[in-house]
Each structure stands twice: as C-alpha cells, then as structure tokens.
C-alpha cells in the first residue's frame, strides 16, 4: 500500500467501515481508562515504596487502617465503570449482529487454504473480495472442511466460518482501497497463508467489475 508499509514501521491501521470508528472510540476509551488506572496504581505503589521504605524515619503510627468505606468504594466504582463499558460494547455488538434490510449478499466459502467468493451476479474470485463502497454488504459464509475465520482489520470485523452451517457478517465500507484479509482461526499447515485482499471500489466500478468476464484466471493477489 503506502511506502511505510514495506519497511515495517507502519503503526496504524486504516478504519474503512462504518463500524470501525465507533469500535475505535471504545477501544481508545479503554486504553485511556486503563492508562489512568495503571498510572494511579503504579504511582501509589511507588509513593508508598519510597516513603515507607525500611529505614526511612516517617510516622507509621495508626498503620492498621480498617476502612469498610474504602473497600466499598473500590468495589462500587469498578462495578459501575464495568457496567458502562459492557453496555457500550453491547450496543456495538448488537449492531454487528443486525444487518440492515436490502444488503448486497455475497457468498464466501473457506477451505484449506483459500477463500472462494461468489457474487450475486455470478462472478467468482479467489482470495479476494471486491465490494462497492457505501453499500451494506452481507457475507454469507460456510466452510468445506475445518473452521476458518474471515478477518478484515480495516473493518474491525471478523467472523468464524464453520463447516455444516452458514454464518453471516455484514459491513459497509467507507473508503475505496485495498485492505488485507486474513484467516484467523487456526486451520492447519498453511493457515498463515490463507488470506488475500478486500478491494473496495466505487459503486459504478463495482457494477462494471461484477458484470465483466474475469480476465483468464488472473485474479489480484496482494
């Protein structure tokens, strides 16, 4: 993709679906909260360790604190915070589970070690998925052998693909581009090679692409 990508210094991942920014928001809230908690606790520990180090002459009378109030506070505060986090995540999780009506359905089959994709218009591709931007797309997926998992980091989404049943994953891409796709459920020898690319195109390009005859078995591989 961009130049940085090649040299191993790229510390960012694009956010290219409608669900990605809200998930990021929750993620960064968690980061901030964790940082705050860590800093407070580490500071307390360091402060006590320095002030009350053995040999330091400080007041240690009344060291036997027994405070129910303190205990109750630090049970109640995490409880409330955790409940809030749970709710926030739950709302997003529910969104991931409920596709809007009129999605564009695309069939995906996982097998050791490739992804086969079949579009509504009949066009097929391997290890690549072309989708239009700005349209809700629903992937209907199954596996021919073991469990695989369809993961697009740029969309912040993944879904396991199981043999013997269908699972679904919906998303709406927001930015045209090429995004890596990987298999994230261990599926045998070439698990790490089972990937490809998601190509997000403008709606017109997608229309054209979907109705084209594939150029003789030449599918894009990233």
């Amino acid at each position: 993709m961009n130049d940085q990508a090649a040299n191993g210094f790229d510390f960012s991942v694009p956010a290219a679906s409608t669900i990605a920014p809200p998930i990021d928001a929750l993620f960064y809230t968690l980061v901030a909260l964790s940082l705050a908690v860590t800093i407070v606790i580490i500071c307390c520990i360091l402060y006590f360790c320095i002030k009350y180090r053995r040999g330091n002459a400080v007041d240690r009378t009344d060291s036997e604190v027994k405070s129910l109030k303190l205990e109750d506070t630090w049970i109640a505060v995490p409880l409330v915070l955790f409940f809030a986090l749970f709710c926030w995540a739950a709302v997003l999780y529910a969104r991931i589970f409920t596709p809007p009506p009129n999605t564009l359905d695309i069939f995906v089959v996982g097998k050791q070690w490739m992804w086969k994709v079949e579009h509504a218009a009949g066009r097929q591709e391997i290890d690549a998925l072309h989708v239009p931007v700005g349209v809700p797309v629903r992937l209907v997926m199954t596996s021919q052998d073991v469990i695989h998992s369809f993961f697009v980091p740029a969309f912040r989404l993944k879904q396991d693909v199981l043999p013997g049943r269908y699972t679904a994953l919906w998303f709406q891409a927001t930015k045209p581009g090429v995004y890596p796709l990987s298999c994230t459920e261990y599926c045998g020898t070439d698990h790490s090679r089972m990937g490809g690319a998601v190509v997000v195109m403008s709606q017109e390009d997608y229309q054209r692409w979907a109705s084209e005859k594939p150029p003789a078995a030449q599918e894009p591989k990233p």
Partner: protein, 536 residues
Amino acid sequence: MTQARTAMARSYLSDGTTIRSWLTTSDHKRIAIMFSIAITAFFFIGGLAATLIRIELATPQGDVVSAETYNKLFTLHGIVMVWFFLIPSIPTTLGNFLLPIMVGARDLAFPRLNLASLYIYILGGIFTIVTVIAGGVDTGWTFYTPYSTMFSNSYVLLAAAGVFIVGFSSIFTGLNFIVTVHTMRAPGMTWFRLPLFVWAMYSTSIVMVLATPVLAMTLALIGIERIAGIGFFDPALGGDPVLFQHLFWFYSHPAVYIMVLPAMGVVSEIITCFARKRIFGYRFMVYAIAAIAVIGFLVWGHHMFVAGESMYAGLVFSLLSFLVAVPSAIKVFNWTATLYKGSISFDAPMLYALGFVGLFLIGGLTGLFLAATAVDVHLTQTYFVVAHFHYIMVGGAVMAYLGGIHYWWPKITGKLYREGIAQAAAVLMFFGFNLTFFPQFLLGYLGMPRRYHEYADRFQMLNVLSSAGAVVLALAYLIPLTYFTWSLFRGERAPANPWRATGLEWTIPSPPPTHNFTHTPQISDEPYAYAPDSRE
C-alpha cells in the same frame, strides 16, 4: 512409633538418602521437591519451543522452520506450558510443601495419593515427550474440532492422552488439598485465621476438582471421534464443532484461574512480610478469592464471541466476564493499600511480588478489552490475545512462582542464596518481559493474527523487538538456575526464620523435620501479625 520419634528431629532431607527413599516417599515435602524438578524440566522444554517460535518470527518469511514444524512448536509450547508447567507449578511444589505446614499438620490427608499424583504427572509427561519424538501434534493447545478429529495428520491421540492423564494428577492433588484444609487444621486454626496462600490453594483445588473431569471427558470424546469415526463434533457426522468449544472452555477458563489464584496467594504472603503489615482487608481478600473461583465457572463463552454462539449468549458472557474482574480489582487495591505505612524492604521476593502486581494489572485490564464484545470482534485470535495472557501467565503467575521460590528457598533447602544477583535477575526479567510482550499488544491491534508462521512485512519491526525481548527474558530465566544451584552446594546455612516472617512454616527449623512439628501447634491469632516499627 519409636522410629517415627527419632525421625522427628531429623530434617526431611537427611531422613533417608537413597534414591529409593525418595521415589517411594510419602513425605509431602519430598514429593514437592520431585515435582519442582519435573516442572522445571518442562518449563525449559516449553521455553525452548518459545525460543524457536521467536527466532522464526524475527523475519516475516517462514525461513527457519517449515510451516508444519512451526505449528507443532506453538502447540507443544502451549500444551507443555499450560498443563505441564503452570497448572501444576505452584500447587504441586509450594502448595505441597507448605499447605500441611501452614495449617499445622504433619502431612497431607492422603500421602500416598500425593505420590500417585506425581507418578501420574510423570506418565502424562512421558506421553507428551513421546508425542514430540514420534513427530509432534499440530492442533494448537485448544484441540479445536473438526481439525483435531478429522483433518490433522499429526499425533493428536498421543498428545490428548498425555493431557488426559495429567488431568488426574490435578484432580488428586486438588482432592488431597481440599480434605487437608477441611480436616487437618491445628487447634485454633479457624477458617479466618488461614493464611491467604491456604485460601488460594483451597479455592484452586475446588476449581481443579470440578473442572478437570470435563476436560477429561472432552478429550475422551475427541479420541472416540478420531478412532472410531463416530461423530460428536464433526458436522459431517451430525455433530456440532461449537459444542466442543463450549466443553473445552468450560474447563479452560476456570483453568486460567487455577493458574492465577495460587499466584495471588503467594503474593499476599510476600507483600505482608516485606511491608511488615497485616494484609489490608483480609476478609475481602478471602471473599475475592472465592468469588473468582465461583464466577470463573460462568464466563467461558467469552472465548467464542465470533465463533458462532448467539448474540445473547455473547452478551451474557461479556457481562459475567466484567463481573469476574471486580474481585481481581479488590485484590489489586488491597495489595496496594497494604503497603501504606509499612516498613518496606526490597529483597528479591518482594521485587517479584511488585512485578506481579504491575504486570497482572496490565494483563487484567487488557482482559477487559477482550471482554468488551465489540472490541473483541477485532482483537480475538490476534496477538493482542497472546499478549493478554502472557502478561497474566508469564508476567503474573511465573513471576509469583519465582517470588515464592525465592521467599521459601531458605525454608525448603536450608540454604541462603545471594541477594544481589537475585535482585538483578528479577529486574532484568521485568524489562525483558515487557520488551517481549508489549509490542504484541500493538501487533494485535494492527491486525496480526496469532498462530502465523509467516506474516506481512509491515509487522516486522514490532516482531523484532519482541524477539529481542525474548532473548533477554531467556537469559533472565537462566540466572536463577545458576545461583540456586550454587546456593545448594555453597550457600550459607539458613536460620529458621531469615525474613522475620510470621506463619507456622517459620516456627520450625530450616529445612523442616520429617513430621514438621514436634508437637501440634496451637493458633491464637489472625495471620500476618506484623507491625511496622513505628519509627525506624
């Protein structure tokens, strides 16, 4: 009877020196020693696999080992580290050695069962080693179906048999501890006078006893499906692979608390001793341990948020996962508060204990990321998860285990080790650890999947950092091995109570006599009767 009397005075180490006297002993202390040797061996086997994993991952290409070998390496690493190292680590060594002494008993309730537990462990270990020699197993430590039953061409049955067998070792040890704590407490040792280490061992044992049979059954079903081709989990045979995941995690989530509760017990002993303070909120600590053990049974589905369980199941498991984090929070806060107005010294055990608190905190907080359903959808099966559990299991539990070994080393061996180098190793370990595993959080967020033999170029920088950290970490683990060996042969003799600690184990000689106590102790106070010198 007279024989027993003379044995009382003699240390357990000099009471019979033949190999046979060790191999047929029923002394909980000798069994603990033998366990610790076996477990250390397995730690290094698991560590060797980790070393190879990190070497392979230093470059994006799969250039050091083949894909098959890589898959076998992380499977071996996971199986060995979980079942042959961390689950038995603290219970069978420190627990075995100390639990009877801490409750004021002469031995565990069933000494021969304890020895059986050791031999079962070794039998399970032999199966695992034979698996490796035969050619290895490549399913990952989670044995997911239908890969493990129908598709893998490796030695799944042998490996599963090893894990199946070692499970009985867990069950026997747990059963023994439960009965000992219930029936063998010395007069005056009421439930709320038990050291937190004993509470931790007791709760852990309950989890072991109630969770492990499910694992045994699940592995047996895998065996049947693989051998007979009769289906439980394979959809081609009418089964459901998600059922396997439910059964596996019903055991394996409680199992993560089997790994961390003992560590929490050890840390409570160490922090009180080196801060010279009573533990802050003793009863809350007890209730927290119990709550973790109980709620821990109800959260297994958080490993399956994208695996095909229903949305409602996901939400319930998420809520319960947040709930199980509350008692852990209580513990972290109470440890911190224990330091307040203490008289703190920084001997090696204390450095490990403080390291535990910090790293467990980070591991636990990132557990919350994973419990938050929508965020887990992005992070699951990536290196973020790998980092999460190494923070708790390596940064937390292994640190605590090493802290405990240092703390009780003088008691167990009767020898002292060199403090300076021990402190240096602890600090080195802390830095090596963070360098190894912190970059993996970033890798996970950026989207690098776990169990990958090859990876995209853009992840290389962070992987190199991680591999470099692993070298530091490996060195840091080798240092204690050397100075402990030195201490065994050249170390100064340890007094009965080198740390001026409270607790029954410090009232008897180092090393303890065969039957621990010459007369049954009487207990009349809460544990941790420390008082900081008000001005020192």
